[in-house]
C-alpha cells in the first residue's frame, strides 16, 4: 500500500490542522523511506509471493524485518515524533509519530504474514499480517476508499479556512485537486506494477 497511506495522512490534516501537510505525508511513509536504503544494501528484501505475477500489484512478500517489525516500527515512529516535537511542539510530534505508526497498522492488514514482532525476527515469534493482498481487488478498494475519504476531508477543511477570501479558496481548491490527483496517480501506478 502506498496511496492509502497518503489518503490517511490527508484525513489527519483535516483533524490536526496545525501539523504541516508535508510532514504528515513524510510521516505516513516514514517506515518505507527507511526501508528503501535497507533494500538497496540487501539488509531487507522483497520476493514475489508463490503464484503471484512478478511485479504485479499486491504480489510481494516483504522481508522488512527491521523497519516493519512491531518494535522497529514503534521505535522509528517514536524517533520521528520526537524529532518533529522539537520544531512543531508536543502535539504535532505526537500526531506525526502516530501517523508514522499507522503505516504499520495498515500494512498488517495487507501483508502476507511477513511482519515480525521483534527486529530481525529474533526469538522466532509469530509473524504478523492478515494477507489482504491475497485479494488484490479488495486491497485496491481499501486504498481507493482511504484516498477518497482523505481527499474529501482535506479539501473541505482547506476550503473553509477563510470564508469569503477568493484567493485562499482558489489555492485551497488547487491543493485539494492536486492532492486527489497525486493520490490517484500513485494508486494507478501501483495497480499497473510501477
Amino acid at each position: 500500500m502506498i496511496a492509502g497511506h497518503f489518503g490517511l495522512a490527508a484525513a489527519v490534516k483535516a483533524r490536526a490542522p496545525t501539523t504541516p501537510l508535508w510532514a504528515l505525508m513524510l510521516a505516513t511513509q516514514w517506515l518505507d523511506i527507511v526501508f528503501v536504503p535497507l533494500v538497496s544494501s540487501g539488509v531487507e528484501r522483497l520476493e514475489t509471493a508463490p503464484g503471484a505475477k512478478p511485479g504485479a500489484y499486491a504480489s510481494l512478500i516483504i522481508h522488512a524485518d527491521y523497519t516493519h517489525s512491531l518494535v522497529g516500527a514503534l521505535s522509528l515512529s517514536l524517533l520521528l515524533g520526537g524529532l518533529f516535537a522539537v520544531w512543531y511542539g508536543r502535539q504535532s510530534g505526537f500526531v506525526l509519530g502516530a501517523v508514522a505508526f499507522s503505516h504499520w497498522l495498515l500494512d498488517v492488514l495487507l501483508h502476507r504474514g511477513d511482519m515480525p514482532i521483534l527486529p530481525g525476527g529474533v526469538g522466532g515469534l509469530p509473524r504478523l499480517g492478515l494477507g489482504l493482498w491475497e485479494y488484490p481487488a479488495l486491497s485496491a478498494a481499501l486504498e481507493l476508499a482511504l484516498v477518497a475519504v482523505g481527499a474529501v476531508m482535506y479539501w473541505r477543511a482547506a476550503a473553509h479556512l477563510a470564508p469569503g477570501d477568493d484567493t485562499v479558496r482558489r489555492r485551497a481548491n488547487l491543493c485539494g485537486a492536486l492532492l486527489l490527483v497525486g493520490c490517484l496517480l500513485t494508486l494507478g501506478l501501483s495497480l499497473v506494477g510501477m
Binding site: 511542539g89 485562499v168 492536486l178 497525486g182
Partner: protein, 33 residues
C-alpha cells in the same frame, strides 16, 4: 516508482502549496516554530 512519485508530488509539491494556506500554526508554547 509510484512511491517516489507520490512522495515528491504529495509531500513536496502539494505540501509546499498547502504551507501557503492560512492553516492555524502552533509550535512549542503555542508560538510559531
Amino acid at each position: 516508482m509510484s512511491f517516489m512519485i507520490g512522495l515528491v508530488l504529495l509531500a513536496g509539491v502539494v505540501g509546499f502549496l498547502d504551507s501557503r494556506l492560512p492553516w492555524p500554526r502552533a509550535g512549542r508554547d503555542g508560538r510559531h516554530p
